[in-house]
Structure formats: C-alpha cells, structure tokens
Amino acid sequence: MKLDLRLDTSGDFYAQKFQPTKREDTLILNMGPQHPSTHGVLRILLEIDGEYIVRAEPVLGYIHRMHEKMAEVMSYPQYLPNPARTDYLHALAWGWAHVGAVERLMGLEVPERAEYIRVITCELNRINSHLLWWGAYLLDLGAFTPIMYAFDDREIIMDILQRVTGSRLTYCYYRFGGVSKDIDDRFVAETREQCTRMKERFKMYKDLVTDNYILRQRVEEIGEISVNACRKYGATGPVLRGSGQAYDVRRAEPYSVYDRFDFNIPTYDSCDAMGRYMVRMDEMQESINIIEQALDTLPQGNFIHPKAPKRAKPPAGDVYFAVEGARGKIRMHLVSDGGKSAYRLKLRAPGFSNLSLFGEVSSGTLISDAVSILGSLDLVIPEIDR
C-alpha cells in the first residue's frame, strides 16, 4: 500500500498555494470547511509535524453573501433584516450599527425610551451570544453538557425577546428612530426574573466548568496574544480585553445612553484563552448589571420617533457608527449620495480581525490547543465572510 499523504497535488487552489514547504516530514491537514470545531464553514489549512502545528492559514469565503453589495441595491428600510444575518448570534448589535449610522446621517433623534429599550434588548442578546459561545467552546474542548445548560438559559432569554421582537435569533427589531414594538410590564418583570436566575446559574457554571481542573489545564497559558499583536491585527472585544487592554466601544465612543450606566469593563492580563474566557463570563454579569440599571430607570415616552420616516432617505454625505458587539467592535461606514439606497456601506466585522490572529498564535501549538484557541476567539463565520 502506498501511503503518500504529503504529496497530494490534486488539492484546490489554496491547498496548492499552501503546499510548498522546505520540510519533508510534515503533513498538510485540511481542517474544515466541514469540521466540527470550526463552527460553520471556516477552513483552516494546517501544516503539522506530528501533532504540532507548523503553519496555519485560514481560508475564507465559503459563506460570502454580498451583504455590502446588497446595501447598495436595497433601499434603507429593506436592508434592515440584513445586518442580523451577518452575525446571527448578536443580531441586535449589528442592527443597531446600521440603524445608528442612518440615524446619525439623517440627524434623527431617538426617543429616550427607545434608547433604553435598545440597551436592554442588546444586552440580553449579548448574554445570549456569550452563553452560546460558552457552550460551543466547551463542546470544542470535549464537554457536551454545558451547551445544554447554556441553551436552557438561552431559551428563556429568547422567549423574552420573542415577545417584543417577534423572532428568536435573527432579530429585525430596531427601526430608524426607535424600535418596532414597545416593551410592557411583563417584559420588565420577566427580564428581572431572568436576571436574578442568571446570577444563580453563574454559580453553577463556575462549579461545573470554570473551576474544573481539566478545563483550566486546557485553557490556561494557551494561545497567548500580546496587546501588541492585538493592535497589529486590529483585534477588539473580549480578545483585546483578555489581553489586558480595557477598550470597549461603550466607553471609548459612547453611543446611545451607555454613558448613564455604571458598569465595569472586565480585563485580564493573562493574555491566554483563560483570560478571554473569564472576560466573557464577567461580561455576562456586567450585562445583567446594565440591564437592571436600565430597567430601574426606564423612562416613559415614545418607543419610536413620531416623525420617523417610513422610507428613510438620508442626505448625501458619509457617516461612521460603531457599537460594541459580543465579538468586538462592529462598525458601519455609510456613504450616501442622497438616494434611497446607500452609495456604499462598509461593514467592519470584529471576527475577521480576531481570526487573522489565529495563524500567528497557533503556530507551534498542538492540534488540541489550536481548537482551544480557535474557540476562544469566538468566531461567527457568516459575520467574517459577510
């Protein structure tokens, strides 16, 4: 039998481009696009020496859906459901980025109540996103149970959000000048109840997972990313905060009413996967903190600006709007020529910058560590490919 695994020249363009190497004792391993731990259709080419990774290169574009081009074709309100489809886990933040950009360009005032509703729902969505990441990350590390507990909590939050937004995952809730539906007392009561419940659940999560010795061995001192590397690649969000830099768009470029709330920006200096893990776990608690404050001070008023245009038509000009998503800084750069659809819309996906780190961080680690690092970056592939 001929076992010639290295000189497989019939690979596709990327494989062939990746192939040439000086070493003769390495394997080229094609991880993805249908690999269980790449969460979607990310493909990573690995050159491995035994179990050690010599080189790694992500290959993108398997779920490119031209969301930026669609913005040039569709009218502004028609584009509203699109941002939710880029990052389906933190759909509301993406929706907010789009809505916020258009509002800023039009100079449209958002009623205070609507801003509060946006903060509450966006933070609930952030908790949801982090919970799913938590479950999926543990799945990558081989523990199957946590994702089920995470979904238990997620379902409740999704039920709460479903009553006001109408959907469970790809929300299309924010409108130019407000939100599409007001929240009621039941929403407030249920959210409060869930906040208290989550605090209890975090204790269980800590016992089951965070303190677990095997987990700590799998994430501590794995995938160390220095602040400089983060800066080099433009990594933001928990990845940057896990490297000790307290950068959060909610603080750095305050939008909406975030400047009224008192919350911490969790940072960890360890720079490893554990740091990023802890940042996300703490962030969920901070989100609950924000939600509780927002519920306490929820003002009365309109949930949408009474003169909000049904067909938004911003004047010519360009505008930039950034929000803090669960994965980092979501930014929209909108250029308008005064028409009914955008002249150009640039989406900045935080996952793209975070993924770019992977090649540098993973070289020299084991395959298992690479999976751990990949998971700790919290990638949502549709967001990266857009």
Binding site: M74, T165, G166, S167, Y213
Partner: protein, 178 residues
C-alpha cells in the same frame, strides 16, 4: 515544588468531584424540554409567523387591503405579489389616449373615493423568500396585515409555501362560521 504540585492536583481532583455533583443534581431535576409533536411550547406569543390578511369587521370574507402595494414595494425579498381590479376611472384613463395623461390624473383626484377603490383579487406570499422582518406589516396604511401564529410548517415542495392569503382568509372565515 513537589508538595505544591501535589496540592494543586488534589485541588484539581476536588474540582472534578464538584463538577460531578453538579451533573448529578441536574440528573434528578425535572426536564426542561417538551415532547414536540405531542406538546408544543406554551410561549408563542409575539412570534412572527408568516403574514396574513386581516378581515373587515363588517364582512369577514373581505380583507382590509386597499391594494396600495406599499408592502410589495418595501419587501426586501419581493415575496409579496398582489392583483387588484383597477379603479374605474383609472381604467378609463388607460383606455383613453395615453399621451393626455395630465387630464385624467386630475380627474382621478376629483373622482369619488368609493368608486376609485380598487378591489383585491389575489394576495400571494412566497414564504420561501420571506425573512419575517415585519416591514410589510408596518408599512400597511390600513392595518390589513398581521402575523399569523402558524409556525409549525413543513412540506415537501417549495410550491407548498406559496400562500394565497386571500383564499386563506376566506377559508378561515368559513371555518369560523361553521
């Protein structure tokens, strides 16, 4: 050095036991899922199913729709198509010389509203492409559209998800009468 590492590992072993305790407690707690085909989740409130037409209060066989086609225009995926009988005056205008467009349009404004009201012939939703954004419902000037609670849909062909909503409205009205 060795002592420290032994202590660390013993602490680690203890954390494993704590983990086992958590799963064993959960083992004996009640289930959180439902047996789907026989039971459904109780909280469908607010969920957006596909859209449906709202009947007139007087005549449940007719919808509130005035065929303004705002929903058709705003739909991001153009999954709505509607047909309506042309209002009488407009039909005349089309029939008459087309270059003289100005005169009939002025006449349209003067025409009594009742007669110019177009009647809805068919309202077809291609649910395959719908992204449930709810823009059509919001753009409707008469509130003729609402979300149904028809969410447990399954079918074998695409054609099964092209709904004729007017026929559906009439079916529902007949069912209610019975």
């Amino acid at each position: 050095m060795i002592v420290k590492s032994i202590r660390e590992n013993l602490g680690g072993m203890w954390s494993l036991l704590v983990g086992l305790r958590v799963t064993s407690i959960n083992f004996f707690r009640p289930h959180v899922t439902v047996h789907y085909p026989r039971q459904c989740v109780p909280t469908l409130e607010g969920y957006r199913g596909h859209i449906e037409l709202v009947p007139l209060e007087k005549d449940p066989l007719k919808s509130k729709c005035i065929a303004c086609s705002n929903c058709v225009k705003i739909c991001p995926t153009s999954c709505i198509s509607l047909k309506a009988t042309k209002p009488k005056k407009a039909a005349v205008a089309e029939g008459a010389d087309s270059p003289a467009a100005k005169v009939p349009s002025e006449g349209k404004k003067e025409a009594p509203v009742k007669k110019a009201k177009p009647e809805l012939q068919s309202f077809v939703l291609d649910y395959n492409y719908c992204s449930l954004c709810g823009l059509c419902v919001q753009s409707c000037p008469t509130g003729a559209l609402e979300f149904s609670d028809d969410v447990y849909l399954a079918g074998f062909t695409r054609q099964e998800f092209v709904f004729d909503l007017l026929a559906r409205l009439q079916r529902q009205a007949q069912k209610k009468e019975q």
